[in-house]
């Protein structure tokens, strides 16, 4: 399955009719990573070369919410009131970004479904209004399509668990509208004590649909249960290493090891609060998580436009090459950088789709209700 999901190695060309069918079975092994940069170049030059081939898939952005506060904006030409606009996404060599649909702080969860529909509507309108720079995408394949068209792919999610209104039908409707990621925190069925029976049914239905579970800010029992239960890889859209910096959403070492075993994906936020005040602090977290969970289980989460403070060298979305240069300076293999920036998110999204295709053959849509399962 890993071969099928690994986008770093493009699928073999379809066979040609004039070539004889091989007499013996041909075993296709994993392709060897082909370096794209000159090891003798300066780290920043190398970083740009690697990012040109393997751009950043950024796991969390609050841009739609930030734009809502502005009376007027122009993302095409540049917008200084936010951290991300099309010119800076291009300078930062960003190829894909997840737009958060989390409700603003202070929203009490009442009428969360309607509020999420409004967030989604706003996000879609922003993408549609910047068609030269941005393109909506739902799958790993569509992300690649967007990139081939020179557009930054925008994925919708994560949304908070409250967005479901405790209904699997609403989950399916939000998925139909383009939601790709759901954070399993902030609902009665995914609380401090872990998942309830309904919560487990939500995870199964997410697997069936191809919705990725986000476990940042989820409780430890919820994290453990989902790691065991989910048939598809999970994400942590904003989690660094707790042993380096205490923060409730950061993951302790033993959980990082479990994430590695489950082939989940921990996306490190580039914020001062969670990772630290310098680019070196962020790199320390990436080093730490790569060591504990593995290079295929770590990625990047800009967390821009969320009113968080960022390391000075990483103040906006144009700064990713600076971070990648720091990693290369520390001796990261190019292949690991390629996984970090692009390959791992592709793997998780392909895994989610793969699981969904398989599950849809076996399972009809779930009609379970919270009243029936959680009484």
């Amino acid at each position: 399955m890993a071969d099928l999901q690994d986008d770093l190695h493009p699928a073999a060309e379809a066979g040609r009719a004039d070539e004889p069918y091989p007499e013996e079975a041909v075993v296709v092994g994993p392709e060897v990573y082909e370096p794209v940069s000159d090891p003798d170049d300066a780290p920043l030059t190398r970083a740009r070369a690697v990012l040109a081939a393997h751009p950043v898939a950024d796991g969390y952005s609050g841009l739609p919410q930030a734009l809502r506060r502005l009376p007027w904006y122009d993302l095409d030409l540049g917008e200084s009131a936010v951290d991300a606009d099309v010119p800076r996404l291009r300078r930062g060599q960003v190829g894909a970004v997840f737009w958060s649909l989390h409700l603003p702080e202070g929203h009490d969860g009442d009428r969360a479904v309607g509020a999420t529909l409004e967030q989604l509507d706003l996000a879609k309108a922003v993408v549609a209004a910047h068609a030269e720079g941005l393109r909506p995408a739902r799958t790993a394949g569509q992300i690649v399509d967007a990139r081939n068209c020179g557009r930054v792919a925008v994925l919708f999610g994560p949304a908070g668990a409250a967005a479901l209104g405790d209904s699997l039908s609403v989950l399916r409707s939000l998925h139909a509208l383009g939601l790709r990621v759901l954070t399993l925190a902030g609902a009665s069925w995914a609380g401090e004590a872990g998942l309830t029976r309904f919560g487990e049914e939500v995870v199964r239905e997410m697997n069936r649909l191809g919705l990725v579970a986000d476990l940042s800010h989820a409780s430890t029992p919820t994290i453990r249960r989902v790691l065991a239960l989910s048939k598809a890889p999970v994400m942590f859209t904003r989690s660094a290493a707790r042993d380096l910096r205490p923060h409730p959403a950061n993951l302790p070492d033993e959980l990082l090891a479990e994430v590695g075993e489950a082939k989940g994906l921990c996306l490190v936020p580039l914020t001062a609060e969670q990772a630290g005040p310098t680019v070196r602090d962020v790199a320390d977290h990436l080093d730490h998580i790569r060591t504990l969970a593995g290079p295929e289980c770590v990625g990047l989460s800009g967390t821009y436009d969320t009113r968080s403070a960022h390391p000075r060298e990483l103040r906006d979305t144009s700064c990713y090459p600076t971070l990648i240069a720091e990693l290369l300076r520390r001796g990261w293999e190019e292949a690991d950088v390629a996984l970090l920036t692009w390959g791992n998110v592709q793997r998780v999204l392909r895994g989610a789709d793969f699981t969904a295709h398989a599950a849809q053959q076996r399972r009809p849509p779930s009609t379970a209700t919270i009243a029936e399962l959680d009484g």
Partner: protein, 392 residues
């Protein structure tokens, strides 16, 4: 050939587009969306007005499935998404019979394939919770009409069966209509007050529908359409889809219902009370006062009048099956449309008239709404107006 044979032959070519069917709500109430427990692939006449064999027998070629939810739910938006999910699951479950349809072209394609085009309509402005973003979400999920109100007013529009509120449409209400025009979602004026009908006809730049309403001149009930509004349909291009609900179409049934409600109130119950004691009082009344029965001819009388007032190009059919407890004699379920067509043939309606009534008018109206939307979208951005900003 009898006129019933003629009717069936005609429907084979120009099947019925029905404007309103409450099967999703019935499935929610009866079996909590357990589609296996009410499998519409087989006979469900013991529980429902609607199943696929009877839709086929009735010559139905397109159905607007209502994604209605009660207006008194604490939050109608998630319930509306559940109703939409129900329709999507029905379509996925019966792909040979139900064809998902979003456009007039989809409807024609379904007819060519011999499938039943399945569209969705939301019944009541409460389903958008005063949010144009939510309205667009419903459109993206496939909803192609919104009835502006149900039985009660919404903050921006008056219902036919409530006290006057904003006096028709408020400024935000007109903005809802404009945004629906921009999207290509039909404005449905069933259930709304006559003042709202007139305001909406003033505000809209696309044809409107009445998904299930009959003529007030034939039977004086607020759910029906007054003549001055019917007379505006030719200029607007819209359609009035006649409904069969006895307590709206038959004057004797209107009067009987009023008397029954009065009897309930006299016994200290709300007139819609469905508790055991309430139903007992109601049944006692029904035993001494037999419920008047509407017939196919009652509905045909409405169509004859609506044709006079609005013209043959502005009629359609909206049975409200599974949304009403009682049906006229001869129109007992979705298999019965041929009886209505036969009655109209007997009254001298021509084949081309009937083709307009059953199929062509409704398809034309959806197509026209799409054309208007295509024009408007090129010049107008999505509206982010709010109730507070316009109606403060």
């Amino acid at each position: 050939m009898t006129s019933l044979d003629d009717a069936r032959a005609l429907l084979a070519e120009f099947p019925v587009v029905d404007g309103h069917n409450d099967l999703p709500w019935a499935l929610r109430e009866q079996v909590r969306y357990d589609l296996g427990a009410r499998d519409i692939a087989g006979d469900q006449s013991a529980h429902l007005h609607t199943d696929i064999p009877r839709l086929r027998a009735g010559g139905v070629g397109a159905q607007f499935w209502s994604v209605y939810v009660r207006a008194d739910l604490p939050d109608p938006v998630p319930a509306t998404l559940e109703q939409i999910d129900c329709v999507r699951r029905l379509m996925a479950r019966h792909p040979k019979d139900l064809a998902p349809a979003l456009t007039a072209a989809d409807m024609e394609a379904a007819r060519a394939q011999g499938r039943i085009a399945s569209l969705m309509g939301a019944e009541g402005g409460h389903s958008i919770a005063c949010s144009l973003g939510t309205l667009r979400g419903l459109y993206d999920l496939g909803v192609r009409y919104l009835t502006l109100t149900h039985n009660f007013n919404v903050p921006w529009a008056d219902s036919a069966t409530d006290e006057p509120g904003v006096g028709g449409l408020s400024a935000f209400g007109r903005e809802v209509v404009r945004e629906m025009n921009r999207l290509g979602m039909l404005v449905d004026l069933s259930h709304v007050a006559a003042t709202t009908m007139r305001d909406a006809l003033d505000a809209t730049s696309a044809p409107v529908v009445f998904s299930h309403s009959s003529a007030r001149a034939v039977c004086d009930h607020p759910r029906n359409i007054p003549d001055d509004v019917l007379e505006r349909l030719p200029a607007n291009g819209g359609i009035a889809m006649v409904t069969f609900v006895p307590k709206f179409v038959l004057q004797a049934a209107v009067d009987w219902t009023a008397a029954a409600d009065e009897n309930m109130r006299a016994h200290g119950f709300h007139h819609l009370d469905t508790t055991a004691e309430g139903m007992k009082v109601h049944r006692a009344f029904e035993e001494t006062h037999p419920r008047p029965v509407a017939t196919v001819s009652t509905v045909a009388d409405h169509l004859d009048h609506m044709r006079e007032a609005a013209g043959i190009d502005h009629l359609g059919i909206g049975g409200d099956y599974d949304g009403t407890a009682f049906t006229p004699d001869g129109l007992n379920d979705v298999s019965a449309y041929p009886n209505l067509i036969a009655e109209l043939l007997d009254r001298g309606w021509s084949r081309s008239d009937l083709a307009k009534l059953t199929w062509q008018n409704a398809v034309r109206v959806l197509g026209a709404a799409e054309d208007v939307a295509r024009d408007l979208r090129s010049t107008r951005a999505p509206s982010h107006a709010t109730l507070e900003s316009l109606d403060a």
